[in-house]
């Protein structure tokens, strides 16, 4: 029984970390209809900045998180203006080509500037160490990641469903021409959404760095995982992404415990099974 609880907690923690990193991609893919394979690259940039600020400048974890989000967004603005704007509404394959190209460039630059070694982000004092749950210990950072996941999920849900910006965003997504006719400046809506998505990527990159350490190949190594999670959830749906992360986290963790040698099989068989049952993902809306 203890083992079951223990696995459940591991699954929850793993799923939430996946959620925090992937949710930004759900925003770009679902709401902006851009297959953004460079999502991981932005998460990686966030991780590098946080590592530099916290480790090399010694400025503390909180400052590092904020700096990572802000600077990554600043870096992303020219990329959005010059490159992404050209692929809004283009065929998916064109978007794939462009965003893979961007990813390659970012990897190359990261390798050149930061070197090929792993970079860590020193945690703030209270996040270090482990907490005793009675039947097992868990690192406090994992608990922190779970909380971050919940906060991000609630915040996004609120922003999209309850604010006037959310209304404009959903209108722009459903019918850009109509929204524009109604006075919504869709270009700004897209730019802001992109900034939010990139900011979330950077945030996820920093929070998830304990599990997915920052190194130049981060951007490609986890690209598939992010893409899978978001699609299984149903691109653009926050509850969908949350469910997908928790389910896939649970399948992966349980599989890894019961039959680690077949770990990959479980994960991908689950993906196939879920998509066969929900061809549009958990929360996919019929178009």
């Amino acid at each position: 029984m203890q083992t079951v609880f223990s696995i459940a907690i591991d699954a929850l923690a793993y799923g939430m970390v996946l959620f925090v990193i992937s949710i930004g991609l759900s925003v770009t893919m679902g709401l902006m209809r851009v297959v953004n394979l460079a999502h991981g690259a932005f998460a990686m940039i966030g991780g590098y900045i946080a590592s530099y600020v916290a480790r090399d400048l010694g400025m503390g974890y909180a400052v590092a998180v904020i700096a990572a989000v802000v600077i990554t967004i600043i870096i992303a603005i020219p990329i959005e203006r010059l490159l992404y704007r050209r692929i809004y509404g283009q065929p998916e394959l064109t978007q794939v080509l462009m965003t893979i190209g961007i990813t390659f460039c970012i990897i190359g630059i990261a390798n050149y500037v930061m070197g090929p070694t792993l970079k860590t982000i020193p945690l703030a004092g209270p996040l270090q160490g482990t907490a005793d749950l009675g039947f097992r210990t868990i690192s406090i950072h994992r608990l922190f990641a779970i909380v971050c996941g919940l906060v991000v999920a609630l915040g996004l849900w609120f922003a999209i469903e309850k604010t006037s910006f959310g209304v404009k965003l959903r209108a722009s997504v459903d019918n850009a021409a109509m929204a524009a006719a109604l006075g919504v400046r869709t270009e700004i809506v897209y730019a802001v959404s992109f900034a939010v998505a990139v900011g979330l990527a950077a945030f996820g990159g920093v929070v998830g760095a304990e599990l997915l350490p920052v190194e130049p190949y981060y951007a490609l190594r986890y690209m598939v995982t992010f893409l899978v999670v978001v699609s299984v959830g149903g691109a653009g749906s926050i509850p969908g992404a949350l469910i997908a992360c928790l389910v896939l986290g649970a399948v992966d963790t349980t599989g890894r415990y019961l039959m680690p040698e077949f770990g990959e099989f479980f994960f991908y068989l689950a993906v196939i099974a879920i998509i066969c049952v929900f061809p549009r993902g958990f929360a996919g809306r019929a178009k």
């Binding site: 050209r86 998916e92 961007i102 190359g108 630059i109 893409l227 691109a235």
Partner: protein, 334 residues
Amino acid sequence: MTVAMNNQTTLSRPRGGSFKRDLIGVIVIIVFAALGYVLFPDNLALLTRILAVALLVLSLDLVTGYCGVATLGHAALFGSGAYAAGILSAHYGINDPFLMTMGGIGAGAVAGLLCAVIMLRAHGLPQLVLSIALIYLFHEFANKASSWTGGSDGLAGIMPDAVFGIYEFDLYGHTAYFFGIALLLIVFVLLRILVRSPFGMLCRGIKEDPLRIRAMGASPNAALTKMYVISGAVAGTGGALSAISTQVVALDALSFTQSAEALVMLVLGGTGSLFGALAGTLIFMLFEDYVSAANPFHWLTMVGVLLIAVVLFAPKGIYGTAAAYFSRRREGSQ
């Protein structure tokens, strides 16, 4: 452009004989092959590799370019062909290169059928994800079946016999190169026939509007499954060529990376055209070879810049954009 009427009951054939274009295509391939042989006699290994990958990209073009199925798992078909050809030689002592190729074709077709059954259960992004899941399952399966595949060490001990008992697969790669050229030409001609055939027309219809095809009483899924099997045979040919020419097969033949690269090459060249697929493969692989030899440490950035540049300046792919430009020019001058 006007259509002259021969008489009251039959329509004239459209202008521009397609046979002529086939012939031009074959000649272009032969010229390029000869140029490659004369200009880079010491790079035949690379050129043969390009041929094998070109077959994979052609095969991908059949499902992605002609049928509109986006996939990031197409190497599953290529790798199945490669392993089948390799296993025939390494485990069963069947070293005849033609039999090995047949084995690759068969295995590729079976893998294609298997992928089709799963891939056609969803559309769009979820379909893309299904393809990713498939390629990882294939990869893991090959890794697990290490007594057959050699697992992560790769399958060694592939020793193809001389072609017709005369031409050895040697260090200099002449035989492998000509063998590959022959395979590519045969496949190219067959595919030209295929894309023009009634079935090719049906698939183009499916790509544009599967619902309309259903309303015409044809089943898109049945057609796509068939196309997947054909595509598997083509990819399997490429896999077999790879196994025969390099005499080794490893897990990378079944990898996501290989699949994604093939898709990048296809989009780079231009989807929905056999020439686009060939041009994309050639340009990408030569570019990659050149920049990675020039700077083995930071060439990835250059490849990234190439991809971005293509999207910005040649949105239909290099061949697609060039073809559109020339046909506009031609029409303008008429």
